[in-house]
């Protein structure tokens, strides 16, 4: 790994700070989903793949922060019942703020790219 790759990796880690949480909350904003479903959806979004070992601690943290809640247990024909997660009202409020901030940041990014002196 050359110097650029290392730098990009660190920069990506910084960018991913909070981004993964926003994506999970956005997925849950549309419907209630169980943990494995979330994992599959995230893996279908390029660049957002996350390991099972990391997803569940993240879900636990979001639940303790009061942003998501276990809505119910969904019976599985083979395995154990699955926890179905959903957004709490507070989670919806936080997600709205997050999305707004990302829109602002996108515009800021475009302004910075196409800078012309006023």
């Amino acid at each position: 790994m050359n110097g650029n790759t290392s730098y990009i990796a660190q920069w990506m880690t910084q960018i991913r700070r909070g981004w993964l949480e926003t994506c999970i909350l956005n997925l849950l904003a549309g419907e209630d989903i169980h943990g494995y479903g979330l994992l599959l959806r995230l893996r279908h979004i390029p660049g957002l793949g996350i390991s099972e070992g990391s997803l569940y601690p993240l879900l636990s943290r979001l639940r303790l922060q009061g942003l998501i809640v276990v809505r119910r247990l969904e019976e599985s024909p083979d395995g154990p019942p699955r926890k179905v997660y959903g957004l709490t009202p507070r989670g919806r409020q936080v997600l709205a703020l997050m999305n707004r901030h990302f829109d602002v940041m996108t515009r800021q990014h475009q302004l910075a790219q196409n800078w012309s002196a006023p």
């Binding site: 390991s51 943290r61 395995g79």
Partner: protein
């Protein structure tokens, strides 16, 4: 269902524990994440059609799972405190905690429940924590739930066995938290003392049991959560969703009991409005069982919630026994001693009421509660009726037997025939009859209390208890022994209708007693009469018409039902009678005449009716309406005062639908009726009431009115059913309460009395030579009855100097009156010590005609024959 091998489970837990701190630092719940991981492994096993998760599978899965944990995540802005690291100390601590949880959360509560159930210590001293079986059930659930949580929460068990139990254990744990929190709060007042007791004396765990059980239940909640995350059991409802309802349920169940100590002081408040409100509340919601228990143990149920509800944390505030007894009567309408005492057990399981309970009324002026194993063994009424003199003399012999373990005092409230007076009292000491000494009321009571209560010797005391009533007290009735006494009663015959040649005699009866008369025990009656008698409708007496006419039979010995009575012919018009007695000054005699009413019989123009609104009057509602109120003339001006918690005043006759509830103080209603009567032409007052077992709190207004109205306030009272009349006793010195002389048919007699149909005896002192020519000689009882009248006149409330003369007169003529009493003591020294002198047996009345009376009768008969012979010629 996927099962895990113990090795797999062990490996999984060990590896997870290694990540605990890292997950904790990330802000995640490690136990939750472990459970999710475990579920994931189960899912993968199911996908692979495996029924068992082995250690190898776990190893493989974890290598994938834990590869980047938690590197892909960012720590939160604020880190939670790091979880304690697993160490030898932590393992030791965990095991010690488990032992403590078993000890304090299971064994201690179970032991305390068992102890309290057997001994009832807390119920006796503070409050009853288990008043119903529902409470026992709920309390027992706490150690059971704690034990279940300990067993289920253990990591040692397999997933399969834990799975079905967790849901129910979680719910039971919530219930245990609610129940133990309730009881921990209830004991909160005792908790600091219990802690100090443990520190200084090493005892005091019992009151702390609820608190320990609560703390254990809370600690076990955490364990259950951890165990739940390791399995796939759905989470139980939040702890407060089960704890709060059961807490509120217990509070609701306790509310009737909590209200009792809160509102008892208010029922005894001086403000009538406060009294009325508190009485109504307790009547509607209060626990009657607790109110009854507090009559014997006044300060039970002093717990945290009671003090909280009363808005007062004054720990020293206590309720007196009298307040508790007053409350019970006001709320229920039944005196506390008219119902069986509650079960109160001591530490050794002994019955506190039966053996250890000291008689609080010993030597006092109240009959109070019935005492177990104190019985009436014999009751005999002998007498002689002398219609020629218009009198009767009755002797009632009573024998009490005591089968209890301690000496007892027998007490009875006796209703005398109308206008009668006790003129003889005898006590058998060592088989010998001993006559009473007559003295001042307080003098005789003082002697009785000193000899009986303090020295525990053999006296008997008779004092008046309101109009036409006496209180008989005998002490001590020895253990497994008997005590025999006799009272002699001089009785004027009643002439209910002056137009009829007929007199009536009502026999004495118990109206209240602290002993039991067996159902098969009757008072054996044997009276002799100079005229043939007719038994009353409800009187089971046989009348013999052979001369001398005798009246024999048996009447109930218990305080129940109306008194038996007889009707006898009387000379009409009745001739004047003169009577002599050696105790009268020389040359003086007593002339007795029968005076008809001063005006033709008629109803008064105005009438005040006072009706006792107490529950015990309920049975007499129809009787009063149909037989009394409906018979009153329509043009009579009537005002009705119904004694309730607050007096209800109705202009006119009482309504047909009267409501009777609780036990009401009749004093305020009487006072208002008296005020109305004075303002409306000195109208008579008719007071229809049940027993008044409590003194009235508001009689001062009535007393003042009676003092200043100079004898114009007259209350004609009629009591339905047995029992004491404390209000009449309170007003005895004013002589304004006049019990109606009813004979069997209450209603007809009351109506007749209101129309002034009765004739009245008049007795006055004359010089022997002033005696009218046709005067017949009469019984010495006429002189005793005159003395009783004279004593009443001398001791009238507005006379300030007559009291001593009245006492002296009572002593001379050996009478029990409002100013005097009779006491039998055991030795001459005891009499001397109290400045009393026993009556000379020769001067006491008897059933056989007294020598003086016999001579007078002989003389009278001779005079009458001589007079008839002379008129014929």
């Amino acid at each position: 269902m996927i099962s895990w091998t113990p090795q797999a489970l062990s490996l999984f837990e060990r590896r997870c524990e290694e990540r605990r701190n890292a997950l904790w630092a990330l802000g995640a719940d490690p136990d939750e994440v472990f459970a999710d991981w475990k579920a994931l492994i189960d899912t993968h096993a199911a996908d692979a059609r495996a029924s068992t998760v082995s250690a190898d599978r776990v190893q493989t899965e974890l290598e994938i799972l834990l590869v980047d944990t938690p590197s892909a995540l960012d720590p939160p802005a604020t880190l939670p405190p790091a979880a304690p690291s697993t160490s030898a100390f932590r393992i030791w601590f965990g095991r010690s905690t488990t032992v403590m949880l078993w000890l304090l959360g299971v064994i201690l509560p179970l032991g305390v429940i068992l102890f309290e159930g057997l001994a009832g210590l807390c119920a006796e001293i503070l409050f009853d924590p288990m008043p119903t079986w529902w409470h026992v059930l709920l309390i027992t659930l706490v150690p059971i739930a704690n034990a279940a949580a300990l067993l289920t929460g253990s990591r040692a068990q397999t997933v399969d066995t834990a799975h079905p139990r967790l849901r129910w254990t979680g719910m039971a744990n919530g219930l245990a938290i609610g129940i133990s929190a309730f009881y921990a709060l209830q004991f909160a007042l005792v908790t600091p003392f219990a802690v100090l007791a443990i520190i200084y004396f090493g005892i005091g765990l019992i009151p702390l049991a609820p608190l320990f059980a609560f703390l254990c239940a809370v600690a076990l909640r955490t364990r259950l959560r951890r165990a739940r995350f390791l399995t796939d059991v759905p989470p139980p409802a939040a702890w407060w969703k089960t704890a709060l309802p059961v807490f509120l349920l217990l509070l609701l169940l306790a509310l009737p009991r909590l209200m009792v100590p809160v509102y008892t002081p208010q029922v005894n408040d001086t403000d009538p409005a406060v009294r009325a409100r508190a009485t109504t509340l307790l009547r509607t919601f209060g626990s009657r069982d607790l109110m009854l228990r507090r009559c014997y143990r006044p300060n039970v149920n002093m717990d945290f919630f009671s003090l909280l509800l009363s808005g007062s944390f004054r720990l020293g505030q206590t309720t007196s026994r009298t307040e508790a007894q007053t409350t019970y009567y006001r709320v229920t309408g039944t005196p506390y001693d008219a119902v069986p005492p509650p079960r109160l057990k001591g530490l050794r399981g002994q019955d506190l009421i039966d053996s250890d309970w000291l008689d609080p009324a010993l030597g006092g002026e109240r009959v109070s509660a019935r005492i177990r194993n104190l019985t009436l063994a014999q009751s005999r009424l002998d007498g002689r009726v002398d219609t020629a003199s218009g009198i009767a003399y009755l002797e009632w012999t009573l024998e009490f037997r005591n089968a209890s373990k301690t000496q007892r005092e027998a007490r009875a409230l006796i209703e005398l025939p109308p206008g009668a007076v006790v003129s003889r009292v005898t006590l058998w000491i060592n088989g010998e009859p001993c006559e009473a000494a007559f003295g001042g009321r307080s003098q005789t009571r003082r002697a009785y209390q000193q000899i009986a209560v303090r020295q525990r010797r053999d006296p008997v005391l008779v004092t008046t208890a309101g109009p036409d009533r006496v209180l008989l007290q005998c002490f001590p009735v020895p253990v497994d022994g008997a005590m025999k006494t006799r009272i002699g009663i001089s009785v004027p015959l009643v002439v209910p209708d002056a137009t009829q040649a007929e007199a009536a005699l009502r026999l004495p009866i118990f109206v209240e007693q602290n002993f039991t008369a067996p159902a098969d025990l009757h008072t054996t009656v044997w009276l002799e009469s100079d005229q043939p008698a007719v038994g009353g409708a409800a009187t089971p007496l046989q009348v013999s018409n052979s001369d001398p006419f005798s009246i024999r039979g048996k009447i109930p010995a218990n305080a129940a039902g109306p008194a038996a009575f007889l009707r006898l012919p009387l000379a009409h018009p009745y001739p004047p009678i003169a009577a002599r007695d050696s105790r009268l000054p020389d040359g003086l005699a007593i002339l007795q005449t029968l005076d008809p009413p001063t005006a033709p019989p008629a109803f008064p123009e105005t009438l005040a009716i006072v009706i006792d609104g107490s529950a015990r009057m309920r049975d007499y509602r129809t009787h009063m309406t149909e037989h009394i109120f409906d018979l009153l003339p329509d043009d009579m001006r009537v005002c009705t005062f119904i004694a309730r918690d607050e007096t209800e005043v109705i202009e006119g006759k009482p309504p047909e639908r009267l409501r009777f509830v609780g036990g009401c103080d009749n004093g305020p209603a009487l006072a208002r009726a008296a005020e109305w009567a004075v303002e409306n032409g000195q109208a008579p007052i008719l007071w229809l009431h049940a027993a008044q077992p409590l003194a009235s709190l508001e009689l001062e207004a009535l007393r003042q009115l009676a003092d200043f109205s100079r004898g114009t306030v007259v209350i004609h009272s009629h009591q339905y059913g047995p029992g004491a009349n404390r209000i009449a006793e309170q007003l005895a010195d004013l002589d304004i309460i006049r019990p109606l002389p009813v004979m069997g048919n209450d209603a007809a007699d009351i109506i007749d009395h209101l129309q002034h149909k009765a004739a009245h005896w008049s007795r006055r002192q004359i010089a022997s030579d002033e005696r009218p020519a046709a005067t017949a000689p009469g019984s010495t009882h006429i002189v005793r009855l005159w003395a009783a009248d004279e004593i009443k006149r001398l001791s009238a409330p507005l006379r300030k100097t007559g009291h001593d003369d009245a006492v002296e007169l009572a002593r001379t003529f050996q009478l029990v009156t409002p100013v005097s009493g009779a006491v039998v003591l055991e030795t001459a020294a005891q009499y001397q010590a109290h400045d009393l002198k026993p009556a000379d047996p020769a001067s006491t009345p008897g059933i056989v005609p007294e020598p003086a009376t016999g001579l007078l009768l002989l003389l009278g008969t001779s005079l009458l024959l001589a007079w008839r012979r002379r008129t014929r010629t």
